[in-house]
Symmetry: C2
Subunit: 335 residues, 2 copies
DNA sequence: TTGTAGGCGTTATCAC
DNA sequence: GTGATAACGCCTACAA
């Protein structure tokens, strides 16, 4: 076997030469086989097979101004939070002949702008962003690029383009109401501290106040949200505020950790401590006790985002271009 | 604001015109700023800022035959198994100016070949595959492409190109030895049924036999490996073989589920049932009790794969081109 | 049904 | 230090 040095791969020209046709005919055989005579087609296919020719997508994308590629930008791949959405996006896009390209931004602003620029460079047919783009720089770059954009997982009055999300403020308030109705008077949060989480916290605190309860400062966790940080968060919270009888965790993994920690501390869930998670990504239902959680339909977000992006990439228009998907509280045994 | 139709984004020509220079000078200003006069540079930068110009990576990639892109192909993004590796890959590549593109293949053969082709089309500077490529078709396509390839997470006598992995057979045997030494005589597996898992099972069974123990059929789970399937797997296993005193789970999420289920069944871990996981991705250490697990250094795999791919993409050679990273059994309280 | 010419946006090369 | 030219590999438009 030869040393795998940069022996240039075959081009459409090479294949054409081997098949005894023009490059254009090879292109047709590959893209619109019905427009090629059967025996010509066979000769081309034979040459393609023989050379293992794979067309160069940079060249065809350049010529067509269509990359058949959609980019998804996520803060992190760690944890189950965005998996449903990515899964659904991937499936939907694949079915329509688009490839999904995933980029990780971290929860860091500079990194996000970097990634945004790198993504725009590839001229994908669409960009799906997790969360809303906050930097003016990033927003302008996106708009100037002319690429269809879907922001997700959050609402905003000023989307860059399209949006499919839900209200974190509503979630914060709804969870307070839910726990209050179930008799809890000392309720608190174990939460990440990203923008979406802060929005929930603000609404949570406001609702606590409007019900005449006293505000308890949340225990903040560092990203990524893991079982371990959930355990630590709950420990800190209860050390500081032992009167707490109910916690709302900003993700199911945190809630799972909190549940484990509660047991370690000798607290019965839900009798002595009620726990509510966020996301509902399987772990919640599979835990013991099964966790009450705020369900976010990631699959639906992914599907809608794919629909929107593809529609616009193919010249259609999308309406409504802003969708609030809402959420629901799934009651299980942890509360 | 204008309707976001396909108003063509600016090209390097537009920027050149605005800055009053040639396209070539803009290109230099962007790529080798030290080679242009300071005031020219300033004029170009001003024009770039004004237009929000972002260079077209398809065009530059085509011209340079370098995409500054590395593709990682994963069976799934669900679950923590490959996260460490992806995280490390992303970080290493980003630091060197490469972008990481992630593709999901599912555990499906046809889908994998599809994804391989789609990936080769983009002409990335390297491809990192999780697991070894099994289809002859896929292997040939990869070799013909001339793209540096790193297979990971597994060993094989016939790598496509480079490889950084570890021996699943050794793991299977080592876990049997470990549990046997700790006095267990009825040991079994709760396992996924992908190729790597099957290799572990085979070696596990062989070692069980060579120690004179009787073989117990594993409980198979469907991908993805979740806590829920771990719970179900253990339930099935114990229903069939109540004599089992130790289980080896093919991932930490399965082990976590098994641990939960054991508790539900009223079994003390580890007194009545020992549990060993695989992966060591945080959840193992954060569980209660903390889980004994076979540690795989995903970070190291990611880093090495990035090193290898970049070295080769930049014309260097890599040696050794096959690395066995090994594994270690981390003893915690579940065994 | 097939082929020829030209250009997508960028950069290597060589000339000034 | 800067610019003109050509070429990367493919496909649109048009011609045969």
């Amino acid at each position: 076997m030869s040393i795998p040095t940069a022996n240039k791969p075959f081009t459409i020209q090479d294949v054409a030469r081997i098949a005894g046709v023009s490059a254009m005919t090879v292109s047709r055989a590959l893209n619109t086989p019905q427009k090629v005579a059967p025996d010509t087609l066979a000769r081309v296919q034979q040459a393609v097979a023989q050379t293992h020719f794979v067309p160069n997508a940079m060249a065809s994308g350049l010529r067509r101004s269509r990359a058949r590629l959609v980019a998804a930008l996520l803060p992190t791949l760690v944890g189950p939070v965005f998996q449903e959405m990515v899964e659904a996006l991937d499936r939907s896009l694949h079915d329509r002949g688009y490839q999904l390209m995933i980029g990780q931004s971290g929860y860091d602003q500079a990194r996000e702008d970097d990634l945004l620029r790198a993504t725009i460079q590839r001229r994908p047919d669409g960009i799906v962003v997790t969360g809303v783009v906050r930097s003016e720089e990033g927003r302008r770059a996106l708009r100037a690029s002319g690429i269809p954009v879907v922001e997700t997982w959050e609402l905003t009055a000023t989307p860059v383009d399209m949006l499919v999300g839900f209200s974190h403020a509503q979630i914060g308030a709804a969870v307070v109401d839910y726990l209050h109705q179930r008799g809890h008077r000392h309720i608190a949060m174990v939460s990440a501290d990203d923008q979406r989480a802060l929005t929930r916290i603000e609404a949570f605190d406001a609702q606590v106040a409007s019900l005449g309860l006293s505000r308890i400062a949340p225990a903040f966790t560092r990203p990524p949200s893991t079982m371990g940080s959930g355990r630590q968060g709950l420990r800190e919270l209860l050390a500081r505020n032992p009167e707490v009888t109910a916690v709302f965790c900003s993700s199911d993994m945190l809630a799972l950790g909190a549940s484990i920690e509660a047991r370690e501390l000798g607290l019965q869930v839900p009798a002595q401590l009620a726990i509510v998670g966020l996301g509902d990504q399987g772990v919640a239902a599979d835990a013991s006790p099964p966790l009450t959680t705020v369900r976010i339909d990631g699959t639906q977000i992914g599907r809608l985002a794919a629909d929107m992006v593809v529609a616009r990439a193919e010249g259609g228009s999308v309406s409504p271009s802003v969708v609030d998907l809402g959420f629901s509280i799934i009651q299980r045994q942890s509360s």
